[in-house]
Amino acid sequence: MTYLAKSPWIIHYDASSCNGCDIEILACLTPMYDVERFGIINTGNPKHADIFVVTGSVNEQNREVILNIYNQMPDPKVAVAVGICATSGGVFRECYNVAGGIDKLIPVDVYVMGCAARPESIIDGIVTALGILEKKRSEGASAPVVTDHHMNKEHHKHAEGGVQ
């Protein structure tokens, strides 16, 4: 048992969610669910975070941002897709601008089901992620710098700018 599992700091990014899942994530911070008792802190800063929590699906505007945040997080790190949208695109899947779930872009470690995902299942998802985080640490694996092959050239140049 190392410290990693006792102090998971998350960064939450709202990709193109309907805000339903985001409200549920915030609900986790309230006295009712109080995730801080597990040492979970919502840092809002990729450089401090261990777990990338994404709600909503990938679209043209945010694919760059998702990549950037993920690449800026120091290893070991895991990504959690919260809600059906983040998992597969959900009800927005057929939209002209939606590419699909988050795993279209970055390696997702945990999928949390639900529309919206319930706080209990979100917490459960994060706790599951802790095990994966711990495994990654002991393996000493470092996540590759992720780039987006669907992007056009202009985008591509910027996205890689995330890591020198």
């Binding site: 990729p46 941002v65 990549l67 950037n68 120091p74 700018g161 890591v163 020198q164």
Partner: protein, 638 residues
């Protein structure tokens, strides 16, 4: 006898050098004359220190008062005529009026009183003069050496200006000679003479470029300093009328407050103008139009230091008098207000100017308080300020030639673009406000001096606020310099040899003086204080050891960069998830490309010049009026 010759050498030798520099038209000749004379002056001033070591104050009567006095008077009148002429040509009637008043006063003195005044010893040397001589001799000469490279570049990049370098270097050396004269003269008439010479030299140097702005600012400096000169002449006449023929600094200091206070207040006023205290601060800020070495010279080793020198000299007279407290108040308020204004300045040279005014304010405050502890602090301030400030000015000058800007915001990432000069600047800035460097030791000494005097708490509170502001503007400047911009290229190139010599010597000096400051204190300051006050101020052994430990830590820390580290992952700065290129471009909304530009806080709303300066001018003018009224009243009643 031999010592007296050293003094005379230091006063006359720069004059001879100036004469040859005036004749030398070739770069190479000039370079050799400047370098050799600078070396000679520096060596002799160090030699002077060694040969007067442990001798206390010494008076010399080798130079006969009479023919010298006549020559000086004659020269004074020539200077007055020259100023009169320039004033009329440029239609500066204020200057004309002041120089007329001054000349009439001196003429009157010469005709009516001169024969009744007898000063047996005209020259003197003590530890304080020694320290001043070292500042002038070492820092002043280094600045002259630096000017060689700077002025060459200056004229190359400003072909529209007439190259008057022979004139420039000649005046620089005359300036140094006058400063030596000022700190070695015991005869107040001589002090006055050299005082006027520094006024004239600064006027000529500020107006060197002959642009309209330069001329206006030069005259601005001139009238303020002439006003001080009038007060100085007033002091001389007062002494001649009521002072029983006292005309030596030594006799003035021992003559008792009844006689000495009024002339001291008048000379103190002259000191305030020369030290650019509020309400006379604007001339020093305006003097920024001159080439940078001139600013460095005015700010560090000459001119303003002449003002505080005379105040510190007269400090025993001010001690525990109402006049002294008012003088101290003017200094303290100047410190506070100038530090505040410095926050709002974005031009590096203006920040330096306001910080000079502020620090001199602190010296004036110490001189006005006049206790032995305060004087100890004041002299430390003079020394450390001279070193750090000249270093900063010279590095700003060098940077300016590379990036063509004096704006602090343009110095972003200097540590990448010009690592060596940036390091010099960081040392200079650290020297101005961080423990354990000189200026902070001095501030510390000032606080300790203030706690023990009546009403001292008022000064402490002012000092506390002033130093908080000082910290703000230095730290944000330092932050700009050390910002690492990954896209920048090294544009340092070859720094001119003479500039580099001056910069490294000064940076070395600022570290070394911090290290050997206990020595400076025990060997020079303590005997001086003992002789004049019968008390000694010092830091305890423990504190000195701790300071040295801090300094060593600071010096060692940068070496840790050499330790091989495991490869860290390099990530771009967090931009809210936006990807950014290496030179900080990102695509904003609707795909518009934008560049991230980071600028310092200047807080104009609170610390703007337009807001604080008028307030400072009114308050300090009022204080000066009260000071004179109170001193005069006291004179009437006693």
């Amino acid at each position: 006898m031999q010592l007296a010759q050293l003094l005379i050498f230091l006063i006359l030798f720069p004059l001879i050098a100036a004469f040859f520099l005036f004749l030398a038209k070739k770069d190479l000749e000039r370079a050799w004359i400047v370098k050799l004379s600078a070396l000679a002056i520096a060596i002799v001033s160090v030699y002077l220190l060694i040969s007067t070591y442990n001798m206390g104050g010494l008076l010399f009567s080798v130079v006969p008062a009479e023919p010298t006095g006549i020559i000086m008077f004659f020269l004074e009148m020539l200077i007055a005529l020259a100023i009169l002429y320039l004033g009329i040509v440029h239609k500066k009637w204020l200057v004309v009026g002041l120089i007329l008043i001054q000349s009439v006063m001196m003429l009157w003195f010469e005709l009516v009183y001169a024969h009744s005044v007898e000063v047996s010893s005209n020259l003197f040397i003590d530890e304080f003069s020694n320290i001043m001589a070292l500042i002038i001799g070492i820092i002043g000469s280094l600045i002259c050496v630096y000017s060689l490279g700077y002025m060459k570049f200056f004229h190359e990049s400003h072909p529209e200006m007439k190259d008057r370098r022979p004139w420039f270097f000649a005046i620089m050396f005359v300036f140094i000679a006058a400063m030596f004269g000022l700190v070695f003269s015991n005869n107040i008439l001589w002090v006055y003479f050299f005082w006027e010479v520094t006024t004239l030299c600064s006027f000529l140097l500020i107006g060197y470029t002959k642009t309209e702005e330069a001329t206006t600012n030069a005259f601005n400096a001139l009238w303020m300093n002439l006003l001080g000169g009038v007060a100085f002449a007033g002091a001389i006449i007062y002494l001649a009328m009521f002072g029983n023929g006292i005309m030596g600094l030594d006799t003035l200091l021992t003559s008792g407050k009844v006689i000495a206070l009024i002339p001291a207040a008048l000379i103190g006023f002259a000191g305030l103008t020369k030290a650019a205290q509020l309400p006379f601060s604007s001339w020093l800020v305006g003097a920024m139009v001159a080439p940078t070495p001139v600013s460095a010279l005015l700010h560090s080793s000459t001119m303003v230091k002449a003002g505080v020198y005379i105040l510190v000299r007269l400090a025993p007279i001010f001690q525990a008098t109402f006049t002294g407290y008012l003088l101290a108040m003017i200094g303290a308020l100047t410190f506070l207000i100038a530090s505040g204004i410095a926050i709002s300045q974005s031009n590096a040279k203006r920040v330096l100017a306001y910080s000079t005014i502020a620090n001199l304010g602190l010296v004036v405050a110490c001189a006005g308080i006049g206790t032995y502890e305060a004087i100890w602090a004041a002299i430390l301030l003079i020394v450390f300020h001279a070193i750090s400030k000249s270093l900063l000015f010279l590095s700003v000058g060098t940077v300016e030639h590379r990036i063509r800007s004096r704006e602090i915001d343009d110095m972003n990432g200097l540590i990448v673009r010009m690592p060596k000069i940036a390091a010099m600047m960081v040392i200079g800035i650290a020297g101005m406000f961080l423990a354990p460097f000189g200026m902070l030791i001095s501030k510390w000494a000032a606080i300790r001096a203030f706690v023990d005097v009546p009403y001292g708490f008022v000064f402490i509170i002012i000092l506390a606020f002033g130093s908080a502001m000082t910290l703000f503007f230095w730290a944000k400047w330092m932050g700009k310099i050390i910002t690492v911009t990954s896209d920048s290229k090294n544009i340092e190139g070859e720094v001119d040899h003479s500039e580099w010599t001056a910069l490294t010597s000064l940076a070395g000096l600022s570290l070394i003086t911090t290290l050997v400051f206990p020595l400076l204190s025990t060997k020079l300051l303590e005997p001086f204080l003992m002789e004049n006050y019968g008390h000694v101020a010092q830091l305890s052994q423990d504190n000195i050891i701790i300071m040295i430990m801090m300094l060593l830590l600071l010096v060692i820390m940068p070496l840790s960069i050499l330790i091989p580290q495991r490869k860290d992952k390099h990530v771009q700065a967090y931009m809210g998830g936006r990807t950014t290129t290496h030179d900080m471009w990102f695509s904003g909304s609707l795909g518009v490309q934008k560049k991230t530009v980071l600028s310092n806080y200047y807080l104009h709303e609170y610390f703007g010049e337009a807001k604080l300066r008028p307030a400072g001018i009114w308050i300090c003018t009022a204080l000066i009026c009260i000071m004179f009224a109170a001193t005069a009243l006291r004179g009437v009643f006693l």
